[in-house]
Amino acid sequence: MSDRPLVRRRTALGGAVGGLAVVVLATGCDPGEDLAPPEDDPTGSTGSTATASPQAPEQTPDEALVDDVAAALGSALGVLASARHYRPLRPTLAPLVRAHRQHLAVLETSVDGSASAPVMASPEAALRGVRRSERDLQAELVRAAEQAESGALARLLASMSASVTQHLTLIPPETAP
């Protein structure tokens, strides 16, 4: 089974994200463009298009980016949930959990919370896992911000990456074994 958390409610970009959704959709491809039957097909239908659902419009590149980011946030939350098994770490990790949840909320996306990572052998190992996971998430957010077609989405993702940078800075540094 994939470790990627299941996106349970995916309304991002379909709703209003402070005008972001409109911008993203406006810069994406025309979803109907590729659904038109080929001109040389007199039946107007092929084996594949005949079964295509009108309820599933083609995903724009920015929508795909948001899905990737939501999955990365879900993975990071899973690692945090695992680390919170160690009570003394909870105060340190609580702000990160809040930030990730608010980031998901702005994307109007939620993820399956049951996809937590395995519990690490010690609090130190758990913190190492969190650091690694957050660094991966920060890199994913930067990548997505660089690739976004919408400037508004790029700003949002870049801001989220900066938030992770700030939180990462305050995670206690690793000590030599």
Binding site: G18, A152, R155, A162, Q166
Partner: protein, 144 residues
Amino acid sequence: MTELEALQTTLEAEHAAVYVYGLLGSRTSQSAEAPLYQALRAAYEAHRERRDTLIGEIAAMDAVPVPAAAAYTAPLGLDTTDARYRSALELERACARTYSALVGSTSGARRAEAIALLNDAAARELSFRGTPEIFPGTDEYADR
């Protein structure tokens, strides 16, 4: 906002940042307020370097880089260490908002650089007693 306009706005912010950080540094004791002094010094040098880089980039676009203002209004109430920390934090947050706007107005390598600047400003805020934010550099998502 065009890319050039966003770059010019960022340059204006860098001119102001260099001035204010210089002012704050001049009012901070290198020995008695060492952590603040070092943070101000690092910020001053970083923004001065960005200012110079931006001047070069804008000139390379066959445009005239905006000059520094003839005069800047100094922040009020810089008599205490706490006040200087606050002023530096506000300044860096303002820079983060400028970089965020630059992200939205650019693409490719310039956007990548703007994202790096935003991340750097966000991290630098912590050296001025800032705390992690949910959406650094943006105001519109802050209350969500």
